[in-house]
Amino acid sequence: MTNAVGRSVSRKDGIGKATGQARYTDDLTWPGMLFGRTVRTTAPGGRIAGHRLDFDPAGFTVVDHRDIPGRNVVALLQDDQPCLVEEVFRHSAEPVLLLAHESREALHAARVKLEEAPAEPVFDPEQSPTSFKDILIEKGDLEAGFAKAAHVVEGTYRTGHQEHVYIEPQGVVAVPEEGGIAVYGSIQCPYYVHRALTELLGSAVSHVRVIQTETGGGFGGKEEYPSMIAGHAALLALKAGRPVKMVYDRIEDMIATTKRHPSIVRHRTGLSADGKLLAMDVAVIFDAGAYVTLSPVVLSRGAIHAAGPYRCPNVRIDARAMYTNTPPNGAFRGFGAPQTQFAVEVHMERIAETLGLDSVKLREKNVLRPGDTTATGQKLGEDCSAKAVLKEAVKRSGYRRKRKAFAGTGRGIGLALYWHGSGFTGSGELKLGSRVTLELTPTGAKILTSSTEIGQGTRTMHAQIVADALGIPYERVEVPMPDTGIVPDSGPTVASRTCMVVGRILQRAAEDMRATLGRMTPEEYYRTHGPLSVTKQYEQPDWITWDEERYRGDAYATYAWGCDVAEVEMDPDTWTVRPLRLTVVNEIGKAIHPALAKGQVEGGTAQGVGLALLEQVVMRDGAMANPELTNYLIPTTLDTPPMDVHLLENPYGGGPYGAKGLGELPIDGPAPAIVNAIRQLGLDLREIPAVPEAVMEAACASG
C-alpha cells in the first residue's frame, strides 16, 4: 500500500465545490424560515436615547437586549462586548435591535429610527487613554547593549486595517429543536460559538448544537465574529419559534465585522561597527478598536515576532493594544505577526542602507541559528531554518544579479526574512487541552474533530495522517463536517495548529487504534469485536516551559521559516507600483499534501500582495467609508504576479510526520519584501498599503 502522506491525493471535499452541489449557509432553507436583519448604530460611540419602529409590526419578530435570557455578552476572553447594546455604545455599526420577517423585501423596507446621543470619540491609538493589554519582553541589558553600539538606527513603521474579504460573507441559520437550538453556519471555530450561545441563552435552552456548513473562506474573519451573528439569529429564532437565516451582504460585512489591527511600530537598534545586532528596543502599538475581543492574544503574537528572526543579546519589546472607537479589530491570518515583521524587515533594510552594508549580508550575520535564543529566551533547536530559506531565496530569485541590473531603472528588487510560531502561544495549547476521537467503521475509520475545513484542506490532510498511522488506504478514512453534538472539542481552527497540533493528536489516536487492532484489518476487527473508539487529548512536549507573567520561555513549540524576494516596477506618471514576480521559499517541516501546502503559500502570498499594495480601509468618523469591492481592492488575476514557490522540509519531531504550522506563515513576507523593493527605487517608504498616494508622498519626502 502506498503512503498517503507526502502525496497530493484527491481531496475529501469531492467534486461538489466545482459543480455547484456543495451547500453553503445561504444555500440552506428550512420550512417556515424567516430572514433576520440587524439595526446598528451610526455614531462612533455614545448613548441610545430611544428608538421608534416606523413600520407595521405585524409579521415581524423584534428583539432587543431585554430578550436575552442569559448574559448579554459575546463570550470570548473578557466578556466586555455586549451581544446587543443596552444603552451605552462604543462604535459605529454596533448592533442594537434585531428584526425578522418571512419576506426579505418587507424586512429591508422596514424603517427604524434610532436616537443616538453621540459621545466624544477617540480614533488615534496613540492618544487613547485606555490600553486593553500591555506586554513587556526583556532580554539581557538593553542600555549596556546601546553603550557598546557603534551605530544606532531608529525608525517608525505603520500598517493599516485589512479586511478579510472571504468571498462568502458571514452567515448562519438558527433552528429551534426540541427545547434547544441548532445553529448552522459559516464558521471556523464551532466550540467558540457553542460557548458564546451557552452564555447568551442560559437556561432558556436545553441544549446548544453548532454545525459547520461548507465555509467560503475565513482567514481569521470567521474565528470570533460568528459568535455575534449566531447569537443574533438564535435570539430571533427562539422568540419567533421558527428558523431564522442571517446572511450579511458585502457592505454590512465590511462595516460591521473585524479587520486586521493597524499598527505603529518604533524601532531603535544598536549595532557594532561590522553590523552585529547589539540592542533592539521595539515599541508596538496596535489599534484594538472598541472591545477587547482577541486583541491581547493578537498583540502577544505580534510582540513575540517583533524582533524578527534575528539573534540579539539585548532586547526590549514593549507592546500595547489601545482602545479606539471603531469596530473591534480581530483575528486575521498572521495574527499580529505580519504587522511587526513588516516593521522589523523594513528596518533591517534601513540599517543596511545606513551602515553601507549589503542587506543580505546583514541578515546572514544576524540570523537565528540552532542554539541561539529568541527575545523570550527560547533556545532554538535543529528545526530552525532561517539561514536555509534566506540562502535558497537569494539563489532561486537571482537576487544579487537582479539587484545590480535593476539599479537606476524603474525596477526594484527587495527581500524579507520571516518566521511564524506554530500553534497557540506559550501554555495556550495546554489550556485548550484539545481532544479528538477516532472511530472504527466496518470498512476503515472515521475522524471526529471540531477542526473545520475552510478551504485549506483540513479534512484531506487529517485523513492522510490517520490513513498512514493506521495503515489503511486513504479512501477508507471518513471525515464528516463538525457538529458539536457529535465531535469533541479539538480547539479552534486557527494559529496554524490544525495540522501540527490536531494532526499529531490524530496520529497518536490512530497509532493507539492500530495497537488494539494488532494485525487485523478494520473489517476483520469490526466483524469480530464490533465498534471501537479511541479518544486522545493533547500532550505538551515535556521540554516546553513558559512564564506567562514575564513572557519568558518557549513561546512556540516550533517555528516555520520563510524568505520572499519581490520584484516590482513603478509607473513614474501614476506612482502605481506593479509587482512583477515573487519568489517564496517556505520551510514547513513536512508537506503532508504538497499541492494543498503550495496552495496555502500561493494564497497567503497573494493576500500579502494586497496588504502591501492595494488594500486600504478608509476610516471616516470611525466607520469604514469604502465598504464595497468597488473601492476596497483585493488582488485580481491581473494584480497578482507570477510566483515561484519552493517548499523546504526540516522536520519538527513533535508534529505529525514532522509537519509544522503553515497557514499563516506566507502572509508575513510579501509586504516587507515589496516595500524593500520599492526602496531600491530611492523611495523611503515606511508604511503600507503602498497605494499611489503613499508612494507619491514618500517620493516627495525623499526629494
Binding site: 497530493s8 484527491s10 481531496r11 471535499d13 469531492g14 467534486i15 461538489g16 465545490k17 466545482a18 459543480t19 455547484g20 452541489q21 456543495a22 451547500r23 453553503y24 445561504d26 444555500d27 478579510h164 474579504v165 472571504y166 468571498i167 462568502e168 460573507p169 461548507e214 465555509t215 467560503g216 473562506g217 475565513g218 482567514f219 451582504d249 458585502r250 475552510i454 478551504g455 485549506q456 484542506g457 499541492a595 494543498l596 503550495k598 496552495g599 500561493e602 494564497g603 497567503g604 502570498t605 497573494a606 493576500q607 464595497e628 469591492l629 468597488t630 483585493i634 488582488p635 485580481t636 488575476t637 491581473l638 497578482t640 507570477p642 510566483m643 514557490v645
Partner: protein
C-alpha cells in the same frame, strides 16, 4: 418573461427588475450560482447568457427575455473543468469556483496564460493566489 436555463424552457413571473441571481437561486433552486458582493465585482455569480459570461447579480430578469442561460448546474457531468479545478487545488473554499469555472468555459479551447489572466480578471478568489486556477484551466482546455 420566457427564457431557457440549462436547456429547459422557463417562464418566470418574477418582478422584471428582480435580479437574475435571485430568480436562479430562489425561484429555480439553482444554488450553485453564488453571491459574493452583489455589485458585479467578485464574479461569484457568473453565468453564461447566450455564451457570454455575466454577473447574474447585475442583470434584471427582464433582460434575460428570450436568452439561453447556462449555470454551473448545466455544464454536464462530463465537463473536464470542475474535475481539473479539484485535482489542481484550483478550488480551496470553493465559493468562487462555480463562477470561476463558468468564466473559464467562456475562454474557449486552449487559451494562452495571458488570455486566462485577462478572461478571469473579473472573478475574485481570496484563497489560491490564482496560480492553481491557471493550472486547472490549462489542464482542462
Amino acid at each position: 418573461m420566457r427564457f431557457r436555463v440549462n436547456g429547459k424552457e422557463v417562464e418566470s413571473e418574477a418582478h422584471p427588475m428582480a435580479r437574475l441571481l435571485d430568480v436562479l437561486r430562489l425561484d429555480l433552486g439553482l444554488t450553485g450560482t453564488k453571491e459574493g458582493c452583489g455589485e458585479g465585482e467578485c464574479g461569484a455569480c457568473t453565468v453564461l447568457i447566450d455564451g457570454n459570461p455575466v454577473c447574474a447579480c447585475l442583470i434584471p430578469v427582464a433582460q434575460a427575455e428570450g436568452t439561453e442561460i447556462v449555470t454551473i448546474e448545466g455544464l454536464g457531468e462530463d465537463h473536464p473543468l470542475p474535475q481539473a479545478f479539484m485535482d489542481e487545488v484550483g478550488a480551496q473554499c470553493g465559493i468562487c469556483t462555480p463562477g470561476m469555472v463558468m468564466a473559464a468555459v467562456a475562454l474557449g479551447p486552449k487559451p494562452s496564460l495571458a488570455k486566462i489572466r485577462t478572461g478571469l480578471a473579473g472573478n475574485l478568489c481570496r484563497c489560491t493566489g490564482y496560480e492553481a486556477i491557471y493550472r486547472a484551466v490549462k489542464r482542462a482546455t
